[in-house]
Symmetry: C2
Subunit: 350 residues, 2 copies
Amino acid sequence: MTVVTEQETIPEESPGGLMAAEIAEQPAVLAALLARTGELSEVAAALRRRSPRFVLITARGTSDHAALYAKYLVEIRRGLPVGLVSPSTMTVYGARPDLADVLFVAVSQSGGSPDLAESLAVARGCGATTVAVTNAGESDLARAAEFSVDLRAGTERAVAATKTYTAELLALYLLLSGADPADAAALPDAAAATLDLGTAAYAAAARYRFASRLVTTGRGYSYPTACEGALKLMETSYLSAHAFSTADLLHGPVAMLDSGVPVIAVISTGRGGQAARPVVDKLCETGADVLEVGDAARPGGLVVVSNGIGEELLPVLEILPLQQLAWRLALDRGGDPDQPRGLSKVTKTR
Amino acid sequence: MTVVTEQETIPEESPGGLMAAEIAEQPAVLAALLARTGELSEVAAALRRRSPRFVLITARGTSDHAALYAKYLVEIRRGLPVGLVSPSTMTVYGARPDLADVLFVAVSQSGGSPDLAESLAVARGCGATTVAVTNAGESDLARAAEFSVDLRAGTERAVAATKTYTAELLALYLLLSGADPADAAALPDAAAATLDLGTAAYAAAARYRFASRLVTTGRGYSYPTACEGALKLMETSYLSAHAFSTADLLHGPVAMLDSGVPVIAVISTGRGGQAARPVVDKLCETGADVLEVGDAARPGGLVVVSNGIGEELLPVLEILPLQQLAWRLALDRGGDPDQPRGLSKVTKTR
C-alpha cells in the first residue's frame, strides 16, 4: 500500500512512510470519531451527572499536550478549575488525596504506561470519577477506569504520534467541553484542506535544514499546539525546540531570541491569537526570524484553513502543518521520522 | 560596597556584581524569613481554617517554578489536588469559575504583573481564599489579595532572580506544607555551606563555554529545580536550556540527547532522586554528557550540603550551584548576568 504526499507516492516501507500515512489519515479518523458522537455524548452526560467541582488530567509526552488543551477547554467552557497531575506525587511519594467531587482524566495513546494506570487506580480509590481516553480500549489504563473512550484511530505505527493526538483533542472536546458536537462537523474537511497546503510546510523545512535550536510559541488554546509542535521537531529532527506561552516569552527566554534562534508562532483569529499578536509583532520588529502558523498567519506563514471552526477546535488543525514540517525536516536531514533513535512507542515509566 | 565571591572581591558595579551579591545574600534572607515563622504560621493557620479542597497557584517566569514546587509540596504533604493557573483563561477568555473551597495563591517577586493581579482579583470575586507571596508588600498584587506575605528579601536589582526565588520556596513551605517550621532551621547554614563550594560550579562553567543547548532534568521535588536552573542559563547565557521531568525524558526528548546535547541532572537522596537514578544512569551508559547536581550527586558533580534537611526543602539548596554556574558562564561568555539583553525586571503581561 502506498500513500500520496507532496505530489509523490511514498511506499510505507520507505523512511517516513508510516508517519506520512498517519498524517494523511487524520481527516478520516476525525470523521470516524464524529460519527460516534452519540456514544461519546452518553459518556459526557454521565460525567456531567457526577457534577465534578475540579478536574485533574494526567498524561505524558504528546498526550500531555492534549491534556493541556483540555485544561483550557474545561476552565474556559465549563468554569471548572483544572490541574495537570504530576503522577510521581501518587506513584513515587505515595500521596493519597481526597478526590471526592473530582473528575480524573487520563490520556494515553497506548494505555500502557504503568505509572498512568497506577495513578488512575489510586485516584479512583481516593473517590474520583475516572475516565481514560486511549487508542487501546483493552489496555490496563482503559480497564482501570470507570469510564473509557477508545479513539479507534487504528494502530499508530510511527513512533511520533500524529493521528492519535488530533483524535485525543477531538475526543476531549466531545467529552468535556459541553459544546454541541455539531460545532465540530466541518472539522474533517477543514483538516483535509489544511493538509492539502502541505507544500508550504515542506518548503519551510528547508529554512531549518541546519538549525540546531528553535522556539515555538502560542497563547491560550494555541499554546498546546506550540508545545506539541516543539515535541514533534525534537522527536523527529533532534532539534532543541522549546515551547513558551507567548506571555512567558517576555520573561527571560526572549534573551536568547535575538541571538538568532528562529521562532515558530502559532497565531489564531481567536482571543489567544489576538493577545499574542503584539508580542509576535514585537519579535518581528526586533529582527527575530518568525514563521507564523495558524488561521491568522500572515503571508509567508503556514496557513490553516478553518472553515469557520471556532477557536476552541483550531488546535486540531494548527498542529497539521507542524507535523508536515517535522516529517519533511527529518527526511531532509537524512533521518527516518518513523523510527527516531532512542525512542520506543510505549514508555514504561514507573 | 563589594562582595566576596570566588575568592575575589567583585565591585557591585562590575558586570555580574549585583547577581553575585544577591546570590551571596541568600543564607541571610532565609534566616530572616525563619525569624518570622510566628507571623507566617498565623497566616498558614488562617488559610487552613478555610479548609480548602483544591489549591490553584498562579505565577510567571522564575516564580512559576516556585509555584511548581508548591504543587508537589501541597499534593504530597497536604493531600490536596493542585492546579497551576493559566492566567489567560480568566484574563483573555473571561472565564469565571466557581472557586468556593479553593485556595488561590499568587507568587510574584515584583507583584507588578497586571495579569496576575487581575486573575487574583477575579479569583477572589469567584469565591476563592486568596494569598499573595511577593517581595513588594505594597504592590497591586499584594493589595488585591485577602492575605499577603512580604518576603522582605531586599530589593532584587539583578534581572535574573535568585534570592527572591529561594525566599519564595521557603515562604511557600512555611505557608502551605503544614510542617513544623523547626524542620527548616538548618537551612541558612546549609545554604551557606553549599555556596562555599562555588568553585566547583565555576569550574563546570568552562565545560559549557561553547554549548548552544543543554538539557536539565529532575524528578519530583527536584523537577522545579531543573526548570529554574534552565531558565537561569537561558536568561543569563542565552543557552537553549530545556528542562524535562526525568520521567518525560524517555518519551521523545531523549532522541536529541545522543546527538551531543549535555545534560544537567538534579538528583537528591529523596524519593524523587531515587526514582530518577536509573534514568540518569542509563543516560550515562549511552555516552551522554551528564553533570549531576544535588545531595546525591556522584563525584565530579556539584554537591549540595543538606545538613540533614528533608527532601521537601532540598530545592532551596539545589538551585544554588546552578545560580553560580549561570552567573559564571555568562561572565565567561563576555555577557553581563545583571543586565541580560531584551529583559526587564517587571514584565507587563496583559
